[in-house]
């Protein structure tokens, strides 16, 4: 790299700057906390970001304010926390006095075996610090990535509501709030705009500070592993025990996470997390809010990016089917060259994408719905929250006086890649929303569009049948049925008291 770069990472911890250097490129935050620093309050439950026992809070500046988000320390690479405040469960009590979240957990009998408790406390800490009114659904969403096997959650939800929603102004009233201005100043100091490069040219952790530096570094090291949220790459490290000698973290590149909205659509910078992009996509259609809300967990949504979800090319990625149905286009960049293509063309085959060496996903453009377009999207999984989909389905219908003029249908979990349903799309043209007998051909055509497989999430038969059922459900809803009559959760009308 030509720019002067920093050969260490730095983060804020209990008011102190911790500097780390010489660490392995794939060193995890959890191992750093437990093994290097001896902070054993943060637990390892699964090592794959699914149980939340290792949840810590990362504080970062957003518009000058410190915003805390929960992350799974087990799959967060140590280098990713550069420039953040890292808050662990040991940091919460203040001079021997329990934090309000901790006190409420004790008062409501919210811990039994206690192993998930530190992670739950940290998830709720971030909810507390958000300083917003908190309802039951907010708590459930916040806890979507924290498994508890003992309590049945009721006392934890009660504790969360008491701790996070009992103050009239909802403003946090703890030591973190008291020193927020100082913390903000310290974090601003850490944001030095320097590229981070820890290691040697053949074995390094790098975090370029700009998109240009990122493009240049990746062009130089096309064999490097690009890491955004590490919600998948983290598992290559902890579960596959892969040696990844060159890591380029995209999360520090200024502007890489920009989300911009205009009259015609939304442009998501590749580094925008699901949390950062949710409001923008939700404004396109309520079902997108629900899809985004059900991707991973709060921890995964805080780290994982839309760009990463696409770039990864997983056949079961949750966001691509919806984006494809909406007609999204992808922009890729290599060095200084960019190109764009329809999102569906990016996915070539199982594990194979149209991405050249040194090229990375720069952004995705998502058109808004036109006034004559209707949209529905569904996620089918064994469990409502934090489950990988068995089937994702998304439908965009262009309708003229009740007749379908054009259909874009995309499914995930039905083929080796996220894929459009060409036969069903064609068969749907000319069908009437008001005449269910006109839907039959399209529903039957879906069986020709896909040849799904059996796996531990669902059988091929269930996938085939349910894909057809989801098209039928979409048509029933678009013909005017309220989702209160067609869904068990994720209603489009008003607030669902059971689940957001």
């Amino acid at each position: 790299m030509s720019e002067p770069s920093r050969a260490s990472i730095r983060y804020l911890s209990s008011g102190r700057i911790v500097e780390a250097t010489g660490f392995a490129p794939t060193a995890t935050l959890l191992d750093h906390l437990r093994l290097t620093r001896g902070l054993t309050g943060t637990k390892e439950g699964c090592g794959e970001g699914d149980c939340g026992a290792c949840t810590v809070a990362l504080g970062r500046l957003v518009d000058g304010r410190v915003v805390y988000r929960p992350v799974n320390a087990c799959i967060q690479l140590l280098g990713q926390v550069d420039g953040a405040e890292v808050v662990t469960v040991e940091d919460l009590s203040d001079g021997g006095e329990l934090h309000p979240v901790q006190a409420a957990m004790v008062a409501h009998h919210g811990s039994q075996c206690g192993f998930c408790t530190p992670g739950i406390v940290m998830s709720l800490f971030t909810l507390y610090e958000a300083g917003e009114p908190v309802g039951r659904n907010d708590v459930l969403s916040q806890l979507s990535g924290n498994l508890c096997r003992c309590t049945g959650y009721r006392p934890i939800v009660d504790a969360a509501l008491e701790a996070c929603d009992s103050r009239p102004d909802h403003k946090p009233a703890d030591a973190f709030a008291a020193r927020a201005a100082e913390t903000a100043a310290r974090l601003a100091e850490l944001d030095d705009g320097q590229d981070v490069f820890v290691g040697s040219p053949d074995r390094f952790f790098a975090a370029p500070a700009s998109i240009d530096a990122l493009a240049s570094l990746y062009a130089t090291h096309p064999d490097a592993t690009l890491v955004a949220g590490a919600t998948d790459v983290g598992l290559w490290v902890t579960k596959q025990l892969k040696d990844l000698p060159k890591i380029i973290h995209v999360g520090r590149a200024a502007g890489f996470n920009t989300v911009s909205i205009d009259d015609a659509g939304v442009t998501l910078g590749s580094g925008a997390t699901f949390a950062e992009s949710r409001a923008a996509v939700a404004a396109i259609d309520p079902d997108l809010d629900e899809i985004w809300r059900r991707i991973g967990s709060e921890q995964v949504r805080a780290s994982g990016t839309v760009g990463g979800n696409i770039a990864n090319g997983s056949p079961i990625g949750d966001s691509p089917p919806a984006l494809i149905a909406l007609g999204a286009t992808l922009t890729l960049r290599r060095g200084t060259t960019t190109r764009s293509l329809p999102l569906e063309e990016y996915f070539l085959a199982y594990g194979k994408q149209d991405r050249r060496p040194g090229e990375f996903v720069a952004s995705v453009r998502v058109p808004k719905l036109k006034s004559d377009q209707l949209f529905r999207a569904y996620k089918i999984a064994k469990r409502y929250d934090q489950d990988i989909s068995a089937i994702m389905a998304a439908f965009r219908l262009t309708v003229d006086t009740g007749f379908i003029r054009e259909a874009r249908i995309a499914f995930g979990g039905m083929a080796a890649t996220p894929k459009r349903a060409a036969a069903a799309e064609k068969a749907l043209v000319g069908a009437s929303l008001d005449d269910s007998s006109s839907w039959t051909l399209a529903i039957e055509a879906l069986a020709r569009d896909y040849a799904p497989i059996d796996d531990m999430r669902a059988s091929a038969a269930y996938r085939r049948d349910t894909a057809q059922a989801l098209l039928e459900k979409a048509l029933i809803e678009l013909a005017g049925e309220t989702t209160r009559a067609t869904r068990v959760a994720g209603f489009r009308e008003g607030t669902d008291e059971r689940v957001a």
């Binding site: 309050g41 329990l98 811990s111 075996c113 969403s141 579960k239 569904y378 089918i380 009559a485």
Partner: protein, 777 residues
């Protein structure tokens, strides 16, 4: 006494005591919320601690081992030793029962994931990475993976076993109506949040201190001794707490402690083994899945005349605890129902899969899934409300005889179910749901109220014993130790409440200490919901002895008769005088009066003889009932639980908050078992759902907002348990059968009169299979 009545108890309930029968928080709650409660992996490692990781044959589930090449493992940087069966000085077995569980495989592979070698390295990362490098060549044979394959091969781990009551064949033949069916009930992964872990520290003379996350420290101690060929007395096993157990650390914790001990012995250094989650799920046993074939005969009006049921249980490759587990399935093949005649058969089928083991309910839950399916089927075919059928077939209020010959003398299911029926507004909701289903095209609702009767005691009679050790120090502080382990269930605080109550002191004067085989020997596992029944009583016996001696000293000081000495409020009273408890302790010490004692308790009245099938296996029964309402999407099979009402019998609860925690937590765990938790093995015998990414336990949003839990005011246990409380660890899990029955009820609305062929777990796919069958019929 407290002026405000405890909201969880009714006027007829025994009064709260000074410390017991009150909602004290969990003993470690304040530490847990600060991350200060230590689990095995949090304990500061002694210098030089080595780390151990298991290695196994990745490609085979069954077959002769042809060759094991560990050269790459040994060559990996940081590796200190690689252990194989040849390194074991004693017996290569860690079975809790009849043998057949090699610590390290020798000769053949018995299931996919069986440990063949153990890598000892300077770091855990090095051990894990090196463990992947071994080559185990196996003459692989096709494994028997499921119940059908085991039946086809006629292979069992233990002999079949039956209960017979009356003349079932004749009763069934003579009955006006017969009904039969088959239901498959899935297994369950424990998913304790803290995986299996142990740290073994070598001491002088070759002794070992083993810190272990186990429900059964004594078994760890004895097994380490057996495998290392040293006396039991040379091994101390200690457990301060587990990050969850649920039965998964009753027998299944032992192997890892033994391997750590072997590594410590071989290297002379402390050795820690903490299983990676995927290894944990692949290598340790689970709840038994079963196929249940049943027939019921009734009088044409739903009164059961005879039952014939066969439980075909998948036990895995070895016996482990399957004898007792499947016996308990049979003991609960009646639930709360009176069968005039019954034939109950169980088969313990051997498959080439991980050995199935204890899991909260210990086989009982599978029995109760059967009983409720049978009753649902009766109701559906008769077109009647299932609750009416349930009540019609309950044991009489007194005097019913179970299929295993025990008389039910403490039956409270009638009044308990009546109260829940009223408080849950069952009948009005039934009408509302019928009306909803009549017009709803996609969504169908279901409602079910299911009862529970659960036998309390180990059915292996000798395990119904416990010991405690209590010290009073000269400053009046008290240390308590007992054989029970703490896995989150609140046993330690309950026993501390007993000790504080009996000494008349506050809880903070009682020091709770880790369970260790060095203080209380020859203990039973903390299992069978018996923890507080057994250890609470043992602690009380110890306290009674010490308090008696202290009272004699106090009587002398006060100059009052012994029976006028009273321990309360941290003081000791006699006549118009009093002493602080600590002052009396000091005076006892100076008077050379022993301030330490042991307590021993053996549950009375346990007379069960498995061979003759006579006697009483249980001291008493715990009762409960739950009402569940669900909504099913008949297009996709998705399901939501809308409301739960629970009424549960804890006798006179020792600690209402802890008990409600057990009820809610057990219920949600049972709900997970019957809905989202699906174990998938492939045809090669490999578990495909070996991590939380693919094995889905409930999250917070699966629990309905409308979740009403109450303790039943029973007036206390009728038998003499500790403060008349009842065991609560396992029974509430089975209340979740109400959810499964409610789903069945929702599906029934698709085609009244037809029993939905719904198997457990009721995943979206399982529900859709049933929907398709209903629509196709």
């Amino acid at each position: 006494m407290n002026a405000l009545p405890d909201p969880t108890s009714a006027p007829s309930e025994p009064e709260p005591l000074a410390v017991a029968r009150r909602s004290a928080p969990h003993d470690s709650a304040v530490k847990q919320v600060q991350g200060a409660a230590q689990y095995i992996d949090d304990i500061r490692e002694p210098a030089g601690t080595l780390h151990v990781a298991p290695g196994y044959a990745r490609s085979a589930a069954r077959g002769k081992i042809l060759d094991v090449d560990l050269s790459a493992v040994r060559a990996y940087p940081g590796v200190v030793a690689v252990l194989t069966a040849a390194d074991i000085p004693g017996t290569n077995d860690c079975s809790p029962s009849i043998g057949g569980d090699p610590v390290l495989a020798t000769g053949e592979i018995l299931f996919h994931g069986q440990v063949v070698y153990a890598v000892v390295a300077e770091t855990r990362e090095a051990a894990r990475k090196a463990a992947r490098l071994g080559r185990v060549d196996v003459a692989a044979e096709p494994p028997a993976v499921d119940v059908e394959a085991a039946i086809a091969r006629n292979s069992t781990v233990l002999p079949d076993y039956t209960f017979v009551k009356g003349d079932p064949a004749a009763a069934i033949d003579a009955a006006p109506v017969r009904l039969s069916g088959t239901i498959r009930v899935g297994g369950q992964e424990h998913f304790y949040l803290e995986g299996q872990a142990a740290l073994a520290v070598p001491m002088e003379d070759g002794d070992l201190l083993v810190l272990t996350s186990t429900q059964h420290p004594t078994e760890v101690q004895h097994m380490v001794a057996k495998v290392l060929a040293i006396p039991d007395a040379a091994v101390v096993a200690e457990c301060r707490r587990m990050g969850g157990g649920f039965g998964g650390k009753e027998s299944q914790a032992t192997q890892w402690a033994v391997i750590a001990a072997l590594a410590a012995r071989m290297t002379g250094k402390p050795a820690k083994l903490r299983l990676d989650r995927d290894d944990d799920m692949i290598m340790t046993g689970k709840r038994h899945d079963m196929r249940v074939d049943w027939m019921v005969a009734h009088d044409g009006n739903g009164r059961i005349l005879g039952v014939d049921v066969a439980f075909l249980a998948r036990c895995g490759y070895s016996a482990d605890l399957s004898l007792g587990v499947i016996d308990r399935t049979m003991f609960h093949a009646d639930n709360a129902y009176d069968y005039p005649a019954a034939h109950i058969l169980s088969r313990r089928l051997k498959t080439d899969t991980v050995t199935n083991t204890a899991f909260r309910g210990f086989g009982g839950p599978q029995g109760i899934v059967f009983t409720e399916r049978m009753i649902d089927a009766l109701a559906i075919t008769l077109g009647r409300d299932a609750l009416d059928l349930r009540k019609q077939n309950f044991y009489p209020r007194s005097g019913g005889t179970t299929p295993y010959g025990m008389t039910v003398t403490d039956n409270i299911i009638h009044e308990l179910v009546d109260e829940l029926e009223r408080s849950s507004d069952y009948r009005a909701r039934r009408r509302a749901i019928s009306a909803f289903n009549a017009t709803s095209r996609v969504l169908k609702k279901g409602l079910a109220l299911t009862p529970l009767k659960f036998g309390i005691s180990f059915t292996l009679a000798h395990l119904n014993q416990a010991g405690a050790l209590v010290h009073v120090y000269a400053d009046g502080s008290i240390m308590v130790n007992h054989g029970g382990t703490e896995m989150g269930q609140g046993l330690y605080i309950k026993v501390a409440q007993v000790v504080a109550e009996e000494f008349g002191v506050t809880l903070d004067q009682v020091k709770i200490t880790a369970t260790t085989t060095a203080k209380v020997p020859n203990t039973s596992p903390t299992a069978a919901s018996s923890g507080s029944d057994l250890n609470g009583m043992a602690a009380k016996v110890a306290v009674d002895k010490i308090r008696g001696r202290m009272a004699e000293v106090a009587a002398g000081i006060f100059g009052v008769p012994l029976d006028e000495v009273r321990f309360a409020d941290g003081r000791v009273f006699g006549g118009n005088q009093s002493l602080a408890f600590g002052e009396l302790a000091k005076k006892c010490y100076l008077a050379r009066v022993a301030l330490s004692d042991t307590g021993y308790y053996a549950t009375p009245g346990i007379t069960w003889n498995r061979d003759t099938k006579t006697g009483n296996p249980f001291y008493y029964f715990a009762y409960g009932a739950a009402c569940a309402e669900v909504t099913v999407d008949t297009l996709t099979g998705e399901m939501r639980v809308d409301r739960i009402d629970i009424l549960h019998d804890c006798g006179a609860s020792l600690n209402p908050a802890i008990d409600i925690g057990q009820i809610e937590g057990g219920f949600v765990q049972g709900m997970g078992w019957l809905t989202t938790e699906e174990l998938v093995f492939d045809a090669e015998g490999r578990l495909r759902t070996h991590a939380p990414s693919t094995y889905k336990i409930p999250t917070a949003s699966d629990v309905p907002a409308d979740f009403r839990v109450k303790l039943f005011s029973s007036g206390g246990n009728r038998v003499d348990t500790i403060y008349r409380s009842k065991a609560v660890g396992e029974p509430p899990l089975m209340l979740a059968v109400s959810v499964f029955s409610a789903v069945t009820d929702a599906l029934t609305s698709l085609k009244p009169g037809v029993v939905p062929p719904l198997d457990a777990p009721a995943t979206p796919e399982a529900i859709m299979r049933a929907v398709k069958a209903m629509k196709g019929k």
